[in-house]
């Protein structure tokens, strides 16, 4: 009797499934790139979002020690420096540059580099040069050097020693600047194969003990913007082998003593509008990693502040998208990602992205 009931129920169940077509699991591919997309980097990957809708599109899995990821849309690729151990946290170490494709966000090539990579979450420890061919990766062992990788031919070119200088700031087609501890900039110019052809040092323009230039920077229309712990701005650019450094000027007014820039990746520039967005807080000297209670918006041409955006939750990181209707993306101390209209400063949405440590316009 029990056997009959069991067989009957099997027939009934299979009949029930037969009435609707069974679903099959498939895999998405990345949609066409959209307006105001950006990357949220965390400890184990880079997630791609739209600042317009808050929608997430996919993830690039990265090593926990990856400094940053460099997207390059013309080839539909992303470049990341990575560091792995064969047994998780011990065993043989392998440092490499991984190349990820746009469609699936999967690794399609990897190039081993010397195991000297500076394994810190600093955006400018990685720089794709203007020609889109050479990727510069900062090393620290503990002296500084830079590994040059040809991402088109998929090969390691060489490791160049850069004593006392770090922070990779790509300029021109095949050159990059470095910030040096003696208060200067170093310009390295590469030849067509990626080997250093010329090296130039600037005059001393800051004092690292009295008021150091931050190791966080922002790209401008023709170079880079540097800011000191006290809020003095220098704009730097190059003309062939000449390094041009503007006169320093402070974003902190005489009646605003105590306000300082700070956080981690805490500043960015909208290049077409010439606007600087920088997280600011009130505090004594050496509070340069404190999050910003406000974001100051500075017009670089007139050197005037045009807005103070007060935040309920202070900001550790920010970026601004480069579209004509840009979005200001703010990472707060409590871990939220807040999206503002970068022109009206109206808050638009909060994105849930745990562990966000850096943003990259994309």
């Amino acid at each position: 009797m029990r056997l009959i009931i069991f067989v009957a129920s099997l027939v009934l169940v299979s009949g029930a499934f037969a009435q609707i077509p069974p679903e099959e699991i498939t895999m998405e591919t990345m949609p066409e790139h959209g307006t105001n997309w950006f990357i949220i980097k965390s400890g184990n990957g880079a997630r791609i979002f739209s600042a317009e809708t808050g929608e997430m599109f996919g993830t690039i899995s990265l090593s926990s020690r990856t400094p940053a990821v460099a997207p390059y849309l013309p080839r539909g690729e992303f470049y990341a420096a990575e560091s792995y151990y064969s047994r998780g946290v011990h065993g043989d170490r392998t440092d490499l540059v991984a190349i990820y494709d746009y469609a699936n966000l999967n690794p399609v090539a990897e190039i081993e580099i010397p195991n000297h990579m500076a394994r810190l979450g600093v955006r400018n420890h990685l720089g794709l040069l203007g020609n889109g061919r050479h990727l510069a990766v900062l090393n620290m062992n503990p002296g500084y050097s830079v590994s040059i990788v040809d991402v088109i031919d998929r090969e390691f070119v060489y490791e160049m020693s850069t004593p006392g200088c770090a922070i990779i700031l790509p300029v021109a087609e095949n050159d990059f600047l470095l910030i040096c501890g003696d208060g200067t900039l170093q310009l390295s110019q590469l030849d067509i194969s990626g080997f250093e052809e010329n090296r130039v040092r600037s005059e001393v323009f800051f004092n690292v003990q009295e008021d150091a230039v931050f190791d966080r920077t922002a790209r401008t229309a023709d170079g880079w913007l540097l800011i000191t712990h006290a809020g003095v701005i220098f704009e730097v650019s190059t003309d062939d082998d000449e390094i041009n450094i503007s006169e320093g000027w402070s974003i902190v007014g005489e009646d605003e003593a105590g306000w300082r820039p700070g956080g981690f990746e805490f500043l960015d520039v909208h290049r077409a509008n010439g606007l600087l967005y920088v997280a600011m807080h009130e505090g004594p000297v050496d509070t340069h990693h404190d999050p910003g209670d406000e974001i100051w918006v500075i017009d670089l041409a007139s050197q005037r502040r045009v807005h103070r955006l007060e935040l309920e939750d202070p900001a550790d990181h920010l970026t601004v998208t480069q579209e004509t209707s840009p979005k200001l993306i703010v990472g707060t101390s409590s871990g939220d990602t807040e999206i503002f209209d970068a022109v009206t400063f109206r808050h638009e949405r909060t994105i849930d992205a745990p562990g966000a440590s850096m943003y990259e316009d994309f």
């Binding site: 151990y85 998780g88 946290v89 011990h90 065993g91 170490r93 500076a118 394994r119 810190l120 600093v122 620290m140 062992n141 503990p142 500084y144 006392g164 200088c165 770090a166 922070i167 470095l178 910030i179 040096c180 501890g181 690292v208 003990q209 150091a212 230039v213 931050f214 190791d215 050496d286 509070t287 340069h288 990693h289």
Partner: protein, 179 residues
């Protein structure tokens, strides 16, 4: 002219003394003895550059101090950025079991509230295990950007060890900052 002659005689006297001393030593000491002493000298010279590093670990402090080494407010941690080894099975001066101390460090200057003196503090990372994850601490007194790495708390200092993954950080007193 006389001066030159006097100097010549002086040099001759030095040469003669050196010759006699060498001969006397050669008669008294074997060749193996000489080689062993030479080896000792060379080994000592090779160890010289390591001395400041080795001293950091060898020091027995008799410093008078107060505070909780498991708290980020502990005075030695004024420029420490990392996770406190004192919360991870070690102490403020020792690495947890199996975590290898890095001999290369960054150095800060902190004021001891008990004697109001400033001390050089060596922040050594303990390495070769997964990050401890407890008692995170990020103090930035005297901290400099990463391009000035000897005074940068942001840098991971697991260098000169077998496995370079970061586990936690200790804070050793090297001495008074004005010494």
């Amino acid at each position: 002219m006389n001066t030159n002659r006097i100097m010549d005689r002086g040099w001759y006297w030095v040469d003669e003394q050196a010759r006699r001393t060498t001969l006397a030593l050669a008669r008294r000491l074997s060749r193996r003895n000489f080689l062993s002493r030479l080896g000792l000298l060379l080994t000592g010279a090779a160890a010289l550059p390591l001395l400041p590093v080795a001293r950091a670990f060898a020091q027995e402090t008799t410093l008078r101090e107060v505070g909780d080494p498991q708290s980020c407010e502990y005075w030695r941690y004024c420029a420490l950025s990392g996770q406190l080894c004192s919360c991870c099975g070690g102490s403020h001066r020792t690495c947890p079991p199996g975590a290898e101390p890095s001999p290369i460090t960054w150095v800060g200057t902190c004021r001891n509230p008990l004697d109001e003196r400033e001390y050089l503090i060596s922040y050594n990372d303990c390495c070769g295990k997964a990050a401890c994850g407890r008692c995170g601490c990020h103090n930035t007194e005297g901290d400099k950007p990463v391009y000035f790495n000897s005074n940068s708390s942001t840098v991971l200092w697991c260098f000169g060890v077998e496995h370079t993954s970061y586990h936690c950080t200790v804070a050793l007193v090297l001495g008074e900052s004005n010494q």
